[in-house]
Subunit: 482 residues, 2 copies
């Protein structure tokens, strides 16, 4: 069994476990009470705050503990926006932020504010130039910019220091979501706010960090009370906070060596997977990236089936494919990058992952992908080598369009079927001819252009079928070049 | 050492400790993930929800876990108000609710809503009649009523079932803060929402419960995500939730026997303290009350000094006196009840408290109170038996008022000094004469009338001194009857 979903959550670090048990005995009382039990709890809380602040690189009185990384982001975004409400009501967030930031942005919009997304390139990078451009294009004064230190789905690290400098020059605070990177080191640069989550570094669930640097305008979201400098209401979870701080310090002590080791293992995956598995796109920045995380997408593969097959083979991974999402939409990160979303696999290695586990994954993966492709009778899967790929499969509906082009009706079919039907049919039009795929699965919007790019075909564009009075979905047009 | 502050927080129950350690090993993963670690976490979360729902007396799908009791109240009040926003914008809360409810009410007011407090009697009781009256007196349709099941400071239990019936008849949902009573049993009656906090029953910090019964309109506060039925955002704290549910079940199994035992110990305190200590007022309902909690106030005593003296003697208690509050105002609960706030002590016994500990407290208390009174040279303290109580103490300013009455200038002096100066001076006016105390400590507003009631003197009223163009504070007038 190998757990390769570290970016989602890590088991409790041994140091966290020891600290939790010890602090449960000593830190259960109300730290606001003057009696001995309360004073003991207060000492533990103060010490944990100093340890965490040292790891973050801020003053202890700039740091509060929240109940989760999500709560830290929600409170951080809302508090910074409220503190700057007189300066402006415009919020800028990178297009690849964690959903907690996007949800906070939606709430800001519902309350009358405006939000714009800073686009990323195909590697998922937010450039300082893109930030400057977004600041310049804002409809009014910008109240806050949110950029993560590194992406949770594809591992791309962002140039936070340069982005912070752009924001300082514009007089706009920068909030950094450091959830994925804080275990590996401090976030450099002159940021204003920073949020993180303990269970991402092997601390307990139920602890987030929010740092608000002195001089940053901040108006905490009501209701609050006298706890956590009036920024986070409710009884402090001291045992968990103590365990979080202790494990962050412990993880940091091992971070440099472990980062070197995991970077090499991830590099092995990045190099070998495209060699071992046909039609794979490895996504994310190959150089400026998290040490432990790599993501790739497999053409003509159902992500959910792939996840389950890997689970049966003993590997726990994650996916940004639409079929693995409760909303049946592909990951917004992959969409913003414009990369293939079908058959998506995120491998995130916990500290201590043995090279043999990665090798075993590389041994198992090709057969697993081939098996999933065979189930779908995908082109090149070898499931039915006697069938020429240019022929329509059983049950596949197609026909000639009004201008003589081929039309594939994939309406009602889910990812990756529309792309598979396109791949099967492309050989039936002459080079230079066009093919139209009718599809209402939202993944098609991302995956048909991505397929064209991978296959060297020309993507001509999408026409919404609502405009034709049709039953919905879109018509995607492709010209055969190869 | 005896910890008598159970109403604030309890140490972790052994069952909670075992469950926490076990669930940390099995429940650290993301329950939203389909891999084996995620599925295992999901099973633990579902089982904990069933256990907690059984203890609350609701369906599992009516119950969500929050990060604290405070968070449960904040989310519960805001969600119920938002769900009923079209029906009305008026909120009714009892005057003795936990500060978390009052803070939520303030946030409602800041957002344009109206709030009124339902008054309580001198025992801290909210009567169904008072609720009906408040509903009838509302300036518009009432959106929500909040009444706790039992008070956290004086132990008075509220007639929730009858109040719930009043609310149902009016078509208004009732939110019950069950933080202090859930350990002892289900809250009866047809309430709509219920909130509680795990560390009050020996569960871990970081867990609250919010039950929203089917048919209750509820619009969760944004931002939320897909967690906890879209009502509480952020990664679930499964180990803590499992420990909370397991310990609630364990505590309930012992509740009936332990309630009987602690009720008798509290009765001993209620009876003996006024016999052992002169000038004490025991507050709260003597019959309809929590089993483990008793509160009394000691005339002419500085609450903070009393707390510290008890702490030195090995007893950890709490206080609602102004001098123990960060805001230097007496507890709003004591104010709403109109009882003495100076020298206030809350004794709340943890399960398992030995009778000998209570006896030792009763042995120690008289000397501790006498010592604190002696330090303040309070009347009757015996510190200076040669000094006649009717003479002014050194440094005490007094003089004849314009109408020949005695005026005591206690401006700038903190609780309990203004009351002590009044007590010393009362003998200097003839029976039927009046005495005016100038004071700017807010506790005087509560404690001078309470002193008059205890001493059989007549309280004539208060005049704000701002109206005279003076330096602030109030003039409190008292007529000597005895």
């Amino acid at each position: 069994m190998a757990y390769f979903d570290a970016a989602s959550a890590l088991p409790l670090h041994p140091v966290a476990q020891q600290a939790l048990v010890a602090a449960v005995a000593d830190g259960w009382a109300d730290p606001a009470r003057p009696h001995r039990e309360g004073r003991r709890a207060r000492l533990l809380l103060d010490a944990a705050r100093e340890t965490a602040a040292e790891a973050v690189g801020c003053r202890p009185d700039e740091l509060v503990f929240t109940s989760s990384g999500t709560a830290a982001l929600h409170r951080g975004v809302a508090g910074a926006l409220a503190g700057r409400a007189r300066a402006g009501r415009h919020l800028l967030v990178s297009a690849v932020e964690h959903s907690a930031v996007l949800h906070a942005a939606e709430a800001h919009g519902a309350a009358g504010g405006t939000t714009a997304e800073i686009p990323v390139d195909r590697l998922g990078r937010v450039t300082p130039g893109a930030v400057a451009e977004a600041l310049g294009a804002a409809p009014g004064p910008t109240a806050l910019v949110c950029v993560q230190s590194a992406n949770h789905e594809v591992g791309t690290a962002q140039p936070v220091a340069e982005i912070a400098a752009e924001c300082r020059a514009a007089g706009v605070p920068l909030l950094v979501d450091a959830a994925q990177s804080l275990a590996w080191g401090r976030v450099g640069g002159d940021w204003s706010l920073l949020a993180a989550s303990a269970h991402k570094w092997g601390g307990p669930s139920g602890v987030g960090l929010l740092a608000v640097r002195k001089g940053t305008r901040f108006a905490p979201v009501a209701p609050v009370d006298e706890r956590e400098s009036g920024r986070v209401p409710g009884f402090e979870n001291i045992p968990a906070v103590v365990a979080a701080a202790a494990s962050l310090r412990a993880v940091r002590a091992e971070a440099a060596a472990e980062a070197t080791r995991l970077t090499a293992l991830v590099e092995r995956v990045r190099t070998r997977v495209p060699e071992l598995v046909p039609d794979v796109e490895v996504v994310g920045d190959p150089v400026r990236r998290l040490p432990h995380l790599v993501t790739f997408s497999c053409l003509h593969v159902d992500g959910e089936a792939l996840l389950h097959a890997l689970d049966r083979a003993g590997f726990s991974v994650s996916s940004g494919s639409s079929c693995t999402s409760s909303t049946l939409t592909p990951s917004h990160v992959l969409r913003a990058m414009g990369v293939l979303s079908e058959g998506n696999v995120r491998v995130s290695l916990p500290p201590g992952t043995a090279p043999e586990e990665v090798d075993r994954f590389l041994d198992v993966l090709p057969g697993v992908v081939a098996g999933v492709r065979a189930q779908l009778a995908a082109p090149g899967a070898g499931a039915d080598p006697t069938r020429p790929p240019a022929e329509p499969a059983a049950g596949e509906t197609s026909g000639e369009g009004p201008a003589g082009e081929l039309v594939i009706d994939s309406l009602g079919k889910r990812c990756p079927i529309p792309v598979i039907e396109l791949a099967r049919a492309i050989g039936r039009v002459p080079v230079g001819g066009t093919i139209t795929v009718l599809a209402d699965d939202v993944a098609a919007r991302l995956d048909i252009p991505a397929w064209c790019e991978m296959r060297g075909q020309e993507y001509l564009g999408e026409t919404a079928r609502e405009a034709d009075g049709g039953p919905g979905g879109s018509a995607y047009r492709v010209r055969r070049l190869a």
